[in-house]
């Protein structure tokens, strides 16, 4: 069964819209929430894929950005809901429950932190890079656990979903459409990036850094920018995730989550545009159905993952289109 990739991509997107609409008709709001969850995880994984799939950076600490996005949302929203401003000493910030502001803040702060982490980590490579990104994840995890002001280990609840002008964000379908719209925008931007000189250079630098240098391209600068963009997108997903659950907690920083993001990409196909989307849908579907069958569904997830790594390296897209994933 050989499918052309663009058709597969379109089919996935259509399916993603169709499902919640069908759920709406069948009056099953929980399915819409599931679909939203898949879309948000997909967005987080799309962010990672830019660094991992195109740039070849195996970041085992991308949950850092997911958590930062979540906590930016949590902090801004909690100050808004308690009507107390955030006092940083030199400036006092009013909380806000406006989504656009929260999204921009989440992306900005994640991007800045990605810049500094990247500056420190990108000088290493191979297993050292994996370890150092993992370590940064742990750093933030332990920090958030011992930060009592925002819930510490128990996390922080946000009572009301944040606001988006013109929409009733409490309605599952409307929130879904918001998230889906963001996902599509990001996917569009990624496809533009990938085919632009920047994307070509980054992709080439992954495969053959020596050649890239020999034509006047500096891999380090490319990778840093890719890492920053990647962090910002995953940060946005984190803010959305916290909004979906109306809850932020240190587990958003956990290394298991970092691992899961990589798993999402692998299931779908590394470096492929829709890889993370397919992976996220499969993962959420597995989580829901297998999880319903048995409490120990992670065993089956592990087995599936093992089989994919050993036998189906290109992920689902690879199986369906006959094209291998990017070699990382």
């Amino acid at each position: 069964m050989r499918l052309r990739e663009p058709y597969l991509n379109a089919a996935v997107l259509l399916g993603l819209i169709a499902l919640p609409l069908a759920a709406l008709l069948a009056d099953a709001p929980f399915t819409i929430t599931l679909a939203t969850r898949a879309v948000i995880l997909a967005l987080a994984a799309v962010g990672l894929n830019i660094a991992l799939g195109i740039g070849g950076l195996v970041s085992f600490g991308h949950a850092v950005f997911f958590g930062i996005g979540g906590y930016v949302m949590g902090i801004l929203a909690s100050h808004a809901q308690t009507y107390t401003p955030l006092d940083l000493g030199f400036v006092s910030i009013e909380g806000t429950k406006s989504m656009p502001v929260i999204w921009l803040s989440a992306m900005l702060i994640s991007g800045i932190i990605a810049f500094f982490i990247g500056l420190l980590s990108l000088r290493t490579s191979g297993v050292y890079f994996i370890m150092i990104t993992l370590a940064f994840g742990q750093l933030f995890y332990y920090f958030s656990i011992s930060w009592p002001q925002y819930g510490g280990e128990d996390g922080l609840s946000i009572y009301m979903r944040n606001d988006f002008p013109g929409l009733n964000t409490l309605k599952p379908l409307q929130f879904f459409c918001l998230c889906f719209g963001l996902l599509c925008s990001v996917l569009f931007i990624q496809s533009k990036l990938q085919s632009a000189p920047f994307g070509l250079a980054l992709n080439a630098a992954r495969q053959t850094p020596l050649r890239a240098q020999a034509v006047g391209i500096e891999p380090l600068k490319l990778r840093l920018l890719a890492f920053v963009i990647s962090g910002a997108i995953t940060g946005l997903a984190g803010a959305l995730f916290a909004d979906l659950n109306r809850f932020v907690s240190p587990t958003m920083f956990s290394w298991q989550l970092s691992g899961e993001l990589i798993v999402l990409i692998i299931i779908g196909g590394v470096g492929r545009l829709m890889g993370p989307v397919i992976g996220a849908c499969m993962f959420v579907a597995l989580e829901h159905f297998l999880g319903g069958l048995t409490e120990f569904w992670h065993v089956y997830l592990g087995l599936i993952l093992l089989c994919i790594v050993l036998f189906a390296r290109g992920g689902l897209i690879g199986l369906l289109t006959g094209k291998d994933g990017a070699k990382v």
Binding site: S195, A201, V215
Partner: protein
């Protein structure tokens, strides 16, 4: 006396107790092919790395068109006009031939920081790439994935990428490596025609090619240049015969 396009001044490099490069000074004059030969372990690749910027010498300098490039990194030197082909092909195997050559154009035109218009739809990049491909006779294979190319085609592709840089000087590291009789002849003819565009510093083991192409030959033994001269002079040089030619052929 014309100014050398590329010149090294007393390059020296040691690895612990091993003196890999011993006060090497070579020049590359406009329009010439200058071959560097020597037995295995003589230090040819170490020398190339220092010229191209991937290895810092302990002392000595390199200049390109009179400008000192010793402090520049590999990418910066490439942007100054130093083009290189690798002994073992360094190509993006997952990408097509065209994508590989367009990469050269991207580096050359500093287009790396363009984020919007697709590289493969940018006329300037495509034109440059396709003309380079045409010159090495790979234009028909432009949409072939690099991994599917034959060894000889990959060597040609390496040259094409170097061409897109419109370089001031070529550093070629064993371009004949792995090419059979026919392939070597074609490559030799091609390189011969290339010298007018930019001079070539050629590291090679293939003696037929070296004697057919080189205007000057330098012999590197144990990190030291023991002789420089025309093909005839080198063939007659006793020290060279003892150290190298006597053993190899």
């Amino acid at each position: 006396m014309a100014q050398p396009v590329l010149a090294t001044h007393k390059l020296q490099k040691s690895f612990g107790a091993l003196l890999a490069t011993d006060r090497v000074s070579v020049t590359l004059m406009p329009g010439e092919i200058h071959a560097v030969i020597g037995p295995n372990g003589a230090g040819k690749s170490t020398l190339i790395k220092q010229i191209c910027g991937s290895l810092q010498p302990d002392s000595g300098s390199v200049d390109l068109l009179g400008k000192d490039i010793s402090q520049l990194g590999t990418a910066a030197r490439a942007r100054q006009g130093l083009a290189r082909s690798f002994q073992i092909s360094e190509l993006a195997m997952e990408d097509t031939v065209l994508q590989n050559v367009v990469l050269g154009g991207i580096g050359a035109t500093r287009a790396t920081w363009r984020f919007w218009r697709p590289a493969l739809h940018t006329q300037a990049l495509i034109a440059r790439a396709e003309s380079a491909l045409a010159r090495v006779n790979l234009l028909e294979q432009k949409d072939t994935i690099c991994a599917k190319l034959s060894h000889g085609q990959r060597r040609q592709l390496e040259i094409a990428v170097a061409l897109t840089l419109a370089p001031k000087a070529f550093i070629m590291d064993e371009p004949m490596a792995g090419l059979g009789g026919e392939g070597s002849k074609t490559m030799t003819k091609f390189l011969d025609g290339l010298r007018g565009e930019a001079p070539i510093l050629l590291v090679e083991h293939d003696m037929d090619a070296v004697f057919a192409l080189a205007d000057r030959i330098s012999v590197l033994v144990y990190g030291k240049i023991i002789a420089t001269g025309s093909a005839r002079e080198i063939r007659a040089n006793r020290a060279v015969r003892e150290a190298y030619l006597g053993e190899a052929e």
